[in-house]
């Protein structure tokens, strides 16, 4: 490596640029990028698993604080990770752009001059043939094989395989296109989730979402103007293993809102598409339907409550909150689609479909803590200011009377979790990826090589294969046979 020059700003800038665009630096950055990606796969990431990150903070507060300081819970958006890939791409551009210009200039140019001493090149040999016709014969032979030819008075310089560099440059330029696609997606995209029960309608406005994230340059009024009604959801399971075999979601789509609805089906690998926006079926579960009455028999709560599945057989937990009673009521509950019981596990679900449902409720009275302004999970109840007054396993249609009123298990509804994504950058990335593969294949399988023929006291032949790719030796041997064959 060269030493640092004097403090002449222009020169030192140029020196830094040369260092950054050198192959050695690019290689170090490339390896560094690989190493930097490792912690994100071992430490939970906020973007993938916020619950696990939360758990890390509770279990290991001191360590989690330090991790957070170094952005180890957000590795792939951290300044240090971004710094590595941005430097790598600057280095790549600095390397590839000048080479692209060189390569474009070389289109249609003649191969370089024949070297003075061919004996130093590969596969050098002297041919026993007539000097006068050798060059003509060689030219015809090379032309037939689509070599570029520079013919001088006593020599021919031929080259083939410019495509190799074309492929190489195409590959690297495509990587830039992929990065552009990622950038466009994160700046102009949006991603959100919503839980919708069967029978309910989802209108694509920000308030319909359970959570919604926008790109920096994407505004709330840019949502695609559609609405969909979940008409049916059918999950099929393998009776031997209880594993799911198919999910089929039927929806009635109105696009735009108010238009005549069209029937559509969404499956796990088959999302619904509205231009750039896609609607994915991500998860499913059950919402038990209950009616809660006070002591005088007035209905204080009625409807379906979304419960969260806990295992493969869809044992689900949830919270039924009744804030409109004095004192307030809360039901910490489990929904079991197909009831079974064992001495060790207690009540559990034996099958993910609803065959013999139960609703387990533990009744709490007191203050639900909804008014203190802190956001609360809809699936849990903070029972610190409450008191338990009852416990019951309800069959379908059964009513349970406790000291403050009653609860009836009326039925259930399936719900689905829809993920709605708008990524305007993905087409750039896709084309980038396709071109990258094409470029890679071309650059790895195109053979770049040169062949020279020189006529003096004798006829000399030699060649040079880039990166010593095999195949040139037999080619030159063939040329020799062609030239010698003319002797007669």
């Amino acid at each position: 490596m060269s030493s640092i020059p004097d403090l002449d700003s222009k020169a030192s800038l140029r020196w830094m640029w040369r260092q950054l665009t050198s192959m050695r630096t690019a290689l170090i950055l490339l390896l560094l990028l690989g190493v930097a990606a490792i912690p994100g796969s071992l430490i939970p990431q906020r973007t993938q698993n916020p619950m696990k990150v939360q758990a890390y903070f509770t279990d290991n507060p001191a360590l989690a604080q330090w991790f957070d300081r170094f952005k180890l819970f957000d590795v792939y958006s951290s300044p240090w990770f971004s710094a590595i890939y941005l430097l790598l791409f600057i280095s790549l551009i600095g390397c590839v752009l000048p080479r692209t210009i060189e390569h474009l200039k070389a289109i249609g140019a003649k191969p370089p001059l024949t070297p003075k001493y061919l004996a130093k090149m590969e596969f050098y040999s002297v041919i026993n043939t007539q000097n006068t016709t050798a060059l003509d014969l060689a030219e015809t032979w090379l032309k037939k094989r689509h070599f570029r030819i520079r013919r001088d008075s006593d020599s021919i310089s031929a080259e083939k395989g410019y495509l190799r560099e074309t492929g190489n440059l195409l590959f690297h330029l495509s990587l830039i296109l992929i990065l552009v696609g990622v950038g466009v997606g994160s700046l102009f995209g949006l991603k959100g989730e919503a839980i919708v029960s069967v029978g309910d309608r989802f209108i694509n406005t920000p308030t319909s979402y359970d959570n919604l994230g926008f790109g920096k340059f994407q505004s709330a009024n840019s949502l695609a103007p559609f609405a969909l009604t979940v008409t049916d959801f059918k999950a099929s399971y393998d009776i031997k293993t209880n594993a799911p075999t198919d999910y089929k979601l039927a929806v009635a789509v109105a696009n735009p809102v108010g238009a005549k609805p069209i029937e559509k089906v969404i499956r796990v690998n088959a999302p619904l598409t509205f231009g750039n926006t896609k609607v994915y079926l991500q998860a499913n579960g059950y919402s038990p339907m209950v009616t809660v009455r006070d002591l005088s028999g007035n209905i204080t709560f009625q409807g379906a409550v979304v419960f969260l599945p806990q295992d493969g057989n869809l044992t689900s937990i949830g919270a039924i909150k009744v804030p409109d009673m004095q004192p307030q009521l809360g039901f910490v509950s489990s929904f079991i689609p197909t009831f079974d019981r064992s001495p060790t596990r207690g009540a559990f679900s034996a099958y993910p479909e609803v065959l013999d449902p139960r609703l387990l409720v533990s009744v709490w009275t007191g203050n639900l803590g909804l008014d203190n302004g802190r956001p609360q999970s809809v699936y849990r109840i903070d029972t610190s200011k409450m008191q338990r007054i009852g416990l019951k396993t309800l069959k379908l249609g059964e009513k349970y009377n406790f000291s403050e009123g009653s609860i009836t298990f009326e039925g259930w509804k399936p719900w689905v979790n829809l993920q709605i994504v708008d990524d305007p950058g993905k087409m750039y990335s896709l084309f980038g990826a396709i071109f990258a593969i094409l470029g890679l294949l071309i650059s790895l399988f195109a053979r770049q090589r040169r062949i020279w023929i020189k006529v003096g006291n004798s006829v000399e032949v030699a060649g040079l294969a880039k990166n010593s790719i095999p195949g040139l030796e037999p080619e030159i041997a063939e040329l020799k046979t062609a030239l010698e064959g003319s002797k007669q």
Partner: protein, 297 residues
């Protein structure tokens, strides 16, 4: 034939293949260890007397490959789908791809000497698969029901097989390099192995040949992820390690082609890159979290 019959047939084929690979292993071991007649007089060697044993080894490898191939096909037939739904199936197909890559290289580059490490590696993979990872044949979960399964997984498995073969070659290089360093001589068992230069070239060829396929596997995975999960890249642990493997091999190719690394340094880099692939397969599937881990491996 019923599904269960196919499943049994598949298991018999796998067991038979294991027997064949065991015979192949011993044949290759005999070839390597008894090829030198007189250990005291190191200037005279006689390889002819174990030639037959080596040939037998190769024959057993080919036969084992055929049985393994049948085992994989029957496994798919038993579930009416491509046989790539869980780790047992990935492992037997991976062993098939690895053996296939070896047989291809055997035909193209005459590398019978690699039979010893290859047969033991295949035996270990199949043994682990059938004892630890075995799961009864079952239908696919909805997330895996896609044409991309066949495209993405087959590309990944074939790449893996060739990467591991390149690793075997690079490891052999490093072992022999240890002997030959400072002008030392090879031990008797390694006399028939090719020169260091040939090994070096071979591992490079294998990687350069399969790198585009691995790139394709990653891209096919991204396209599938876009249609199944709503994003084409999400830094899921599997994706992250696939990326690390890709970056490591890209670095290896650049180091060789552009900077001109050869020999020891290149072999270490090749080994590192290959081990990121193995880590991805073993760690992320078994202990990892994320969307690539399906229940029951």
């Amino acid at each position: 034939m019923t599904s269960t019959n196919f499943a049994y047939l598949s298991n018999y084929c796998i067991y038979s293949a294991m027997v064949l690979f065991t015979i192949a292993f011993f044949s290759h071991a005999v070839e390597v260890s008894f090829s030198v007649r007189n250990v005291d007089v190191k200037t005279q060697f006689d390889f002819s007397r174990t030639k037959k044993s080596g040939r037998l080894g190769s024959a057993m490898m080919i036969l084992g490959f055929a049985f393994l191939f049948a085992g994989v096909i029957f496994r798919g037939a038993s579930a009416h789908r491509v046989p790539w739904g869980n780790m047992y199936e990935f492992s037997i197909t991976g062993a098939l791809a690895f053996t296939g890559a070896y047989l291809f290289a055997l035909w193209k580059y005459k590398i019978r000497w690699l039979g010893l490490p290859v047969s033991i590696a295949v035996l270990l993979t199949l043994g682990t698969a059938i004892t630890v990872l075995y799961r009864p044949s079952a239908p696919l979960v909805p997330a895996l029901k896609s044409t991309w399964l066949a495209i993405h997984v087959s590309a990944a498995i074939i790449s893996g097989g060739v990467f591991l073969l390149a690793n075997c070659v690079a490891a052999t290089y490093l072992i022999l390099d240890r002997y030959e360093r400072d002008g030392g001589a090879r031990p008797n068992w390694a006399l028939k192995l090719p020169s260091l230069e040939v090994l070096d070239q071979l591992s490079y060829r294998l990687v350069a040949f399969v790198f585009p396929l691995w790139t394709f596997a990653v891209i096919a995975g991204a396209i599938w992820a876009e249609s199944a999960w709503g994003r084409y890249w999400g830094w899921d642990p599997k994706e992250t390690w696939a990326f690390i493997t890709w970056v490591a091999y890209a670095a290896y190719l650049h180091a060789r082609v552009t900077i001109g690394w050869r020999g020891r340094k290149a072999a270490w880099l090749c080994l590192f890159a290959g081990s990121t692939f193995l880590f991805n397969y073993v760690y992320v599937n078994i202990w990892g979290t994320g969307r690539h881990t399906y229940s029951g491996l």
